[in-house]
Every structure is written in C-alpha cells, then in structure tokens.
C-alpha cells in the first residue's frame, strides 16, 4: 500500500523536487542547531565566569592569573576553551590570547566582553567594577533570552504542528470522505490547488515560528522539508480516505 501511495506522487513533480530538497536541506539544518546549543551553553556560563573574575581581581590577583585559575574550575565548554587558549598563549601575548579565545567561542557576547576587558586593561580602568557590571548585564540578558526561548518554543511548535500537519490531514479527511475519487469525483485540480496552499501555509507557519524564537535563518533550512511533508500528507490522506 505504501509503495502504491508513493507511486501516485509520480505525476507531482513539484512535490518530488521538494522531497529531495527537503532531505538535502534538513542535513544543512542540523549543524546550526548544534552550534546554537554550544553557543548558548557558553553564553549561559559567561556571567559566572565574569563574576568569579571580578572577585579574584578584587582579591588582588591579576586578570591573567584570575583567568588561569578560573579555567581550571569552570565547567563546560567555556572552561575548556579558556584553558586551551591560555595554555597556547605562553608563546604569544595575553591580548592575542583573549582575541583567540573570543574567536574560538564564536559568540558575539564573549567577543564583546573580551573587547571591553582589553580596552579596560589598555586604559588602566578599575577591572573589578567593570567585570561585576558586565556579569550582571549578561546575566540579565541571558535570563531574558532563556525566558523568551522557554515561553515561545511551545507556541512555535504548536503553530508548525497544527498548520503543517493537523490542517492538511483535517481538510484531506473532509475532501476524501465527501468526494471520494473511487466514486468518480474529478478533484485533481482541486487537490493540486489545495496542496499548494498547504505548502505555502506550512512555509508561513515555519517562518513565523522561527522568527518568534529569533532564529528565522535556521528555520529556512527546514522549510522545503515541511512544505513537502504538508503537501504529501494532504495528497496522501485524500488518496487513503477517498481511494
């Protein structure tokens, strides 16, 4: 039955192309997800690193010494990267080590903080206060980002699931039930129009969901797959129900 169902899609070139594109681009969608997870883990650890650095500097240690100490105790990727960079920095300057560390993290938050620390060091500014202020700033920023993520993730998923899966299946069920093809109803052009509609609606739903979470570009990778799924579900259900 499954092969029979797939056979019926042979005439729908757009759907077949979208399926192929969907599979290919889904592979492209995974790396941004992994990268984002890594980046957020670094950014969530950043305030505690800054706070500890501020305490150490306040206790009379130099920033380099404080960083070295923190790199040994800090958990996660941030601690590991810091340790690696400081070990490598024996052959170069501390400024170069900071630049290399911020580049390795690939996080704009860390890059901004490192630029500020570097500037403060150049200008002989009071580091303890600056580090403490930065820690508070970034803690609040990360709290907001996490809150947005937590509260909107469910809503974003709801939109995608209902529009891309629920809606096509529901309409296909109605169409298949009232106008079954095995009783002679001619609804090919109707089905084509509606499958295009569900593809477009699915793209809009995914775009909205991605934008809500602040990751529209990442969502684009999954768009062809969801469009294909939506169109395929509609056409498949109509055939399954209506024959």
């Amino acid at each position: 039955m499954i092969f029979g169902l797939i056979e019926t899609f042979n005439e729908n070139l757009l759907l077949l192309v979208l399926v192929v594109f969907g599979i290919a681009s889904a592979a492209g969608g995974i790396p941004p997800m992994i990268e984002r997870k890594r980046r957020r883990s670094i950014e969530n650890t950043l305030p505690s690193l800054l706070e500890s650095l501020s305490d150490s500097v306040g206790a009379g240690r130099g920033i380099q010494e404080a960083m070295m100490e923190q790199s040994r105790t800090l958990p996660g990727i941030l601690g590991k990267l810091l340790k690696e960079t400081l070990e490598e920095s024996h052959s170069s300057s501390f400024d170069a080590a900071l630049a290399s560390f911020s580049a390795k993290t690939r996080s704009s938050q860390v890059q901004r903080v490192m630029v500020l620390i570097e500037t403060a060091m150049e200008q002989d500014a009071p580091l303890q206060g600056i580090l403490s202020d930065l820690a508070m700033d970034y803690e609040r920023l990360n709290d907001l980002m996490n809150k947005r993520e937590e509260e909107l993730l469910g809503k974003g998923m709801l939109i995608v699931l209902f529009i891309s899966i629920g809606l096509p299946v529901l309409i296909a069920f109605i169409v298949g039930l009232f106008t079954p093809a095995n009783k002679g109803f001619q609804i090919d052009s109707f089905n084509f129009t509606f499958s295009l509609f569900f593809g477009a609606a699915s793209a809009i739903a995914l775009g909205v969901s991605g934008r809500m979470l602040g990751r529209f570009k990442d969502a684009l990778w999954w768009m062809p797959g969801w469009i294909a799924l939506s169109m395929g579900l509609y056409l498949g259900t109509v055939i399954m129900i209506g024959g």
Partner: protein
C-alpha cells in the same frame, strides 16, 4: 530593519562608552573605537561620521551628532546621540547620564520582551483560526459543483465552475495573506535581544 538593529546594539554601545569614558578616553576617541566595528548599524554610523570629520567635509562633531539624530529610528539611539550632543555643546557629565540611560534602557528592554511574549501569546490561536476556517469553508465551496452535480443540481442554479474556482483560489490567497500579516507581528514587534 534599521530600528531593530539600533535597538539590538544601543545598550552594548552605552556599556562600551561607559567603560571607555570611565577609563579616561575622550568622546571622540570612544566614537572612533565603536566606529571601528562590532556594533552593527551604530558602528557604520559612527564610522561614517568619523570619516567625514577626518576629511573635513563636516561642520564638526556637534552638527554631525545632530544630523545623526534625524537619521536614528529608535528612541534609545536618538536619546544617546542627544546626550552626546549635549556633552559636546554644554560639557555635561556624560558618564553619569549614559549610566542612567543604560539602566533605564535595560528596564525598558525587560518590559518589551515581556510584552513581546504576551503579544505573541495570541498568535498561534489567531493563525490557527484563520488557517483552519478559511480552507474549510473554501474546500466546501470548491466541492459544491461536484457534490450538487446529480439530482441536487436541479434544486438550485450554481455559478459556472470557473467562477467558483476563482473564488476558491482568491480566498486561499487571501487566507495566506492574512496568515502572513498575523505572522509579521513576530518580526515587527521583536524587542531585538
């Protein structure tokens, strides 16, 4: 787009200005540092301003800041430029002012994120309502010629199928447009974190 970029970067710019100027860096040098990159659209603005000042094609930092105020789209950025302009013209305590501005802006950001989350709370329901009601009605309208083709057709005269198709296609396009417009709220109201 510009407004969103400004909103996203302005708080970082304020914090950088605070660190730089507290360390004894002058306003012009601080503008130059920010203009060298890392702060999106604000870096571009400051870089352009410094380049005009270097070339001598402007009437000085004050008028440059004033003209930039007209270009700014977000309230926070405009306020920051105004503080800088006042410092240039009246020698005010810029560090204290930008610190207060930073705190205020941070509170505003927290509120705007909260508001964003609340406003988007109704988006799924509205999208689902339009996305479901539209196609259900239009699907029935599109199937009417098929369903009423037999004896039922004798009871009432139906418009030509081309008219029905046009109505269904138009309706579906309108539904998509409606969904897009509702979804656009997620973009236009973004607090820019």
């Amino acid at each position: 787009m510009r407004k969103l970029d400004e909103q996203r970067e302005v708080l970082y710019v304020i914090r950088t200005l605070d660190v730089l100027m507290s360390s004894g860096v002058g306003l012009e040098a601080a503008i130059h540092t920010i203009g060298s990159g890392g702060y999106g659209i604000i870096s571009e603005d400051f870089s352009g301003m410094m380049s005009r000042l270097r070339k001598g094609s402007s009437r000085g930092l004050g008028p440059e800041l004033k003209s930039m105020m007209g270009k700014a789209d977000s309230e926070g950025y405009r306020r920051l430029l105004n503080t800088m302009y006042t410092n240039v013209t009246q020698n005010t305590d810029i560090i204290e002012t930008i610190r207060k501005q930073g705190t205020r802006m941070e509170n505003e950001r927290t509120e705007s994120v909260q508001k964003y989350i609340e406003e988007l709370g109704s988006v799924p329901e509205t999208l689902l309502s339009i996305g479901m009601i539209g196609p259900i009605i239009l699907a029935i309208a599109g199937l009417v010629p098929q369903l009423m083709s037999g004896d039922l057709g004798a009871f009432m005269k139906l418009p030509p199928s081309s008219t029905i198709n046009m109505v269904v296609n138009g309706g579906l396009a309108l539904t998509l447009f409606g969904m897009f417009m509702i979804g656009l709220k997620a973009h236009t109201k973004d607090p820019g974190l």
